[in-house]
């Protein structure tokens, strides 16, 4: 009788403990997801700001004058997409711009 009663109590306690554990885990995960969302937002925004800065610095409006005047050095890719030299026409600013390899 006592054994049965004890077992029943034990089962109830076990189920409750499992429920509490699950609830805690659920809360933890929700917190984690929430935190990750926040981190993603922060990173996305940081990325957007950095991208904005790089695009401002490399904007054609800012670079083209200097490139055409040959004031900027262009770093060409190590491996050219075209194996043969271009026949015609070359961009004017590339003709006069010193290049580095």
């Amino acid at each position: 009788m006592f054994f049965r009663f004890g077992s029943a109590i034990f089962l109830v306690v076990l189920a409750s403990a499992a429920g509490i554990a699950l609830e805690k885990r659920n809360l933890e995960l929700r917190r984690e997801v929430s935190h990750q969302r926040y981190q993603l937002d922060v990173l996305t925004d940081r990325h957007a700001k950095l991208r904005l800065k790089t695009q401002q610095l490399g904007a054609p409006a800012r670079m083209l004058d200097s490139l055409e005047k040959g004031e900027l050095q262009i770093r060409r890719p190590e491996k050219s997409v075209e194996s043969q030299p271009r026949r015609v026409p070359l961009l004017f600013w590339q003709r006069s711009t010193p290049t580095t390899r």
């Binding site: 929430s34 937002d41 990325h47 957007a48 695009q55 904007a59 409006a61 043969q84 015609v88």
Partner: protein, 590 residues
Amino acid sequence: MPIDRRSIHETPARSPRVCVVIGLVLLTWLVLAGRLVQLQWISRPQLSQLADRQRSMIESIPARPGEIVDRHGRLLATTVTMRSLYVVPTRITEPWQFALKVSESLDVDADQLFERITKNRTKRFLWVHRRLDDEQADGIRDLDLPPHSWGFREEYLRRYPQGKFAAHLLGLRDIDGNGRGGLEQSLGSVIRGQDGRRTLVRDARGRVVDVREDVAEAPRHGRTAVLTIDAVVQLYAERELETVMKEWKPKSACAIVIDPRTCDVLAMASRPTFDPNRPVNVPPAAWKNTAISAIYEPGSTFKPFIVAWGLQKGVIAADSSFDCENGSYRMGRRILHDHHSYGRLSLTDVLVKSSNIGMAKIGERLTNKELFAASVRFGFGRKTGISLPGELQGMLRPLKKWNSYSTGSIPMGQEIAVTPLQLISGIAVLAGDGVLRTPRLVSKTVEHIDAIPEDVPATSFRPTVTSPAIERDIGRWLVEGPLVDVVKRGTGTKARLEDYKVFGKTGTAQKPDPATGKYSSQLHVSSFFCGAPANDPRVLVLIVADEPTVGKTHYGGTVAAPAASRLLHKTLLHLRISPGGKPLREARRP
């Protein structure tokens, strides 16, 4: 002892005081029960709604607007997060001190801020300054303002890294994030995304104690729009327009560059312009995208369409010739003139010399009905359907309002008004495959904010509407024959290029004088369209200058042709189009 039976059955008489007390208790209970019924039953819906409103609060989670990039992924518009400062007037005990401190750090007037705070003393939220930069936000933090009386709220700010570049195409966003003009307006729902929401549970003091995840909805961020614009070509167009504005000082000007095969817009620029990053003190004229929102009589640039339609209908042939009456021709009550006296001119020379009399004679052969049909077939008198707000449909009067004047006027580009975009779309029919297409500005939309346009799943923005206009060979003959000759030996010689075979047509349209209502000899719209390579056109350029004021001659060949030619040349070089028409990479394939 005998029992008195009466005394058993009779209840003792209650005193009136007891009765009153019992009555009062009963009444109290009755009132309480009634109140309970009222609260729990009659007023239940309203009260539970009120409680719900006090307990929970729905907070909107703003969606991040998508970016706008050019065809190579160069950033044209993006969104960054900024902090906006608000105050809680009910919690500010010393408004003047508060206002003074804030004004030291921000560019706000202390008196005005004080007045605003005192006026809104009962409110719990008041914006002070929106979208502060990091330095300003740090400055506010250092002020040591009373706690719980102020705060920052994050808001999105639209930035345009290229500045004035393509301002009319992009448009801008107002302080509340709504698109105003350009693609920001027309792509509103695509770029804006959909705000999310979450329900917050508050305690009696209004502090948030829980977030109800079950009713939360994540925001759907805006998609990134990939344009057909090439930022470098756009820059060339902007620079050439600046040159035209400086050299000729017109009221306004615009430049459009398109690929005639697909009608993809490579560049579209308009002057005067504005900086979407600082849209303050902008003159009203600068808001107008003259490429789509200004109409003008196309003048001689309209002549190729009539010739093409005449060939299509078989009323003229490529080897036809016309007597140009030595420069003066009576047409009904009207006498038409040419700039120079011409005798008999071939069809090619009618276009090369831009003879009004020759064109009027073609008009006579076509009749008004076919002239109207030609205008409709090339897309005039209706919107092109480009994805930009504010496009005008031009002016094509109903056929029943046409008269004998129209037979002479329409073939030389009068009595009809077009937008520059309509005109270049029509030219693309001649230079392309004879099919009229909707000009395309947005090639696709992509999900990811930083994706390379070619590598990600994309959604076509809008299908291109096509309608056959003329036979391909007619357009080809016109482009490779008369229109090449216009540049070689006609009115457009200033557009000649050494490397490429260029075709083009000048237009010098007289404008009506507002004072007299007649055509003015001083006010002109100078325009020029050109394209290359003539044997396989890959690029079309149109430049229109409205009312040039410098100098006496405002011919399209003088004002617009040099700039159009430079723009065409630079674009061809940038796109690496060989004089044969193929891009170099394609040309090398076996």
